[in-house]
Symmetry: C2
Subunit: 328 residues, 2 copies
């Protein structure tokens, strides 16, 4: 198994260090701060010296996983270019096009595939980490026309070994999709919380399930929400405009005819169709990662809601919803 | 204990019939449909003849609880005016000003207090009912300048006996608050589901906790969501405008400076302050329901986030957050 070097030991990096170590890989981590000492105290191989960790990765041709917040990414990529310029590289950042652009600019020789595990809690930091965090999670793993398939394969094998399922997709589609299913929900939760707080004690008295669910993620640390939403600005803006358009239409309809049927029926149909996707039977599929059209085949798989469930040698085993076109 | 007559045996009415029966009250229900047979099969006293149930309520001076959807309310109130014109009357509808207006218009001699238990699930109908539905729930119970305090007292005693806590407040404040903590969250959930469904299979693959939480209530039957949101049109419109203003400001800031700090910090502060309200220590308070200022005292209690926890004879025992003004 390929060695793994994790840069950044917060919730995601710390969980990954723990989970990867449990697979019997040789694993080490680096973080410039107290979390290195906490990781060492817990029995892990961790240092505050990122450069040294990267040099070791270069020597052993390890997979380097960058798990720092977006604002800290460029500094780490500069160190990668200096100390492990041709390493196998992936990351766990919540946006993918901006990271891809940074990698191309700052560490262009690295063999890179962008990653994003769809897992997290409202907690953060090393102490909040959990080796089971990725168990059953979907791990987005980017394929562009020029993605290095060795890096893709190594990142996929790691994600699968720690319990995730891998969804291959281009960075642009990733960013549009997470704007819809994560960043917009975060902004909506913030606005709901603000609007309710205008009427403090009574809102607190009457708040029930719909409010608690709708605002839960507003308790996430503001810095984290800013990093993910502001970092996905280009993809989030048009999605936010779609949402504003839909809410504006609801507002107009409520004011004029008093009816909200269009808004409510569309929402109900939307959540129903998304749940149907999840409940569809799957059929198995094999993709040869050495084939010339491997990247196209992987992206097509993701686009149909499919996911890679195993990788052995150069063959990816996948499952894809059956009768997809008929039912959706 | 006062007899109880429940009109409408869906989720709320059916749960109330079960819960009230468990208090050893004499309880009967009416619903013009199959649910009456289902309730009888489960051992309850239920009829399809609403008029007969109301005449019995008039004879026994029972508390009549109207638990029908808003669009069916006026027909029931017309029957109340004919068959039990001076009854003790309450309801469990999710809006209170429109119901108050209908009661004044159609059953003006009834001794009425508006009620709204903050409990529910995304299921509906008699079969979804549960005698424990109200356990620990907050039950909004309206006090206007002219509210009949016998009706208020009887409705409060019933709500308390089945495990709820009672929040007294004027109908207008109720409708504004539920627009903020329930109806806006429902509309936001519908819009989130629609926007995500634009990218169906990929959204389904990548959806994680923030999306599931943010869209859960979009699975509620569209008719129920329409009834509650459209029924609260007057209070919902200005709240929807507040939300559109906040989202528009976020959009403008993201497009111009790229920053979302104001939106995210306000949301985080809002959810934090609402959770602090809930966690405050409480101090006990007694309100004499026979006093001339009883209605004012009850409304003031609700406005401070307080709640009635017991009613004995004409004394309401309440708890109110301590040091309220200091901490909020």
């Amino acid at each position: 198994m390929r060695d793994v070097c994790v840069i950044g030991l917060g919730l995601l990096g710390g969980s990954l260090l723990r989970a990867a170590a449990a697979t019997d890989r040789t694993v080490w981590g680096a973080v410039p701060g107290e979390e290195a000492a906490a990781a060492r105290a817990a029995g892990f191989d961790a240092t505050t010296d990122t450069a040294r960790a990267l040099r070791r990765a270069a020597e052993r041709d390890a997979l380097v996983v960058v798990a720092v917040p977006l604002p800290a990414l460029d500094d780490v990529l500069t160190l990668v270019a200096r100390h492990a310029p041709e390493c196998l590289l992936t990351d766990v950042t919540s946006v993918k096009e901006p990271v891809l652009a940074s990698v191309r600019e700052l560490a262009g020789r690295a063999r890179y595939t962008g990653g994003h595990p769809m897992a997290g809690t409202t907690d953060s930091g090393w102490a909040a980490g959990d080796s089971a965090l990725f168990d059953g999670a979907t791990w987005a793993l980017c394929v562009e026309d020029d993605t290095d398939l060795t890096a893709w394969r190594e990142a996929a094998v790691l994600a699968l070994d720690i319990g995730a399922r891998v969804c291959p997709l281009p960075a642009a589609e990733h960013d549009d999709t997470v704007a819809r299913i994560s960043h917009l929900p975060h902004l909506f939760a913030e606005v709901l919380a603000s609007v309710a707080a205008q009427n403090g004690p009574l809102s607190a008295s009457l708040a029930a399930g719909s409010f608690r669910d709708g605002t839960r993620v507003a308790a996430t640390r503001p810095e984290l929400v800013r990093a993910m939403t502001e970092g996905n600005r280009a993809a989030l803006l048009p999605v936010l405009d779609e949402a504003l358009g839909a809410l504006g239409a609801a507002r107009g309809s409520l004011a004029s005819t008093g009816g909200l049927a269009a808004t409510i029926n569309a929402g109900h149909a939307g959540v129903t169709s998304l749940r149907q996707h999840t409940a569809l039977d799957h059929t198995a599929l094999h993709i040869d990662l050495d084939a010339t059209d491997a990247r196209t085949a992987l992206a097509a798989l993701g686009n149909q809601g499919g996911r890679v469930t195993a990788v052995e040698d150069t063959t990816a085993t996948a499952e894809v919803p059956r009768d997809h076109s008929e039912r959706c």
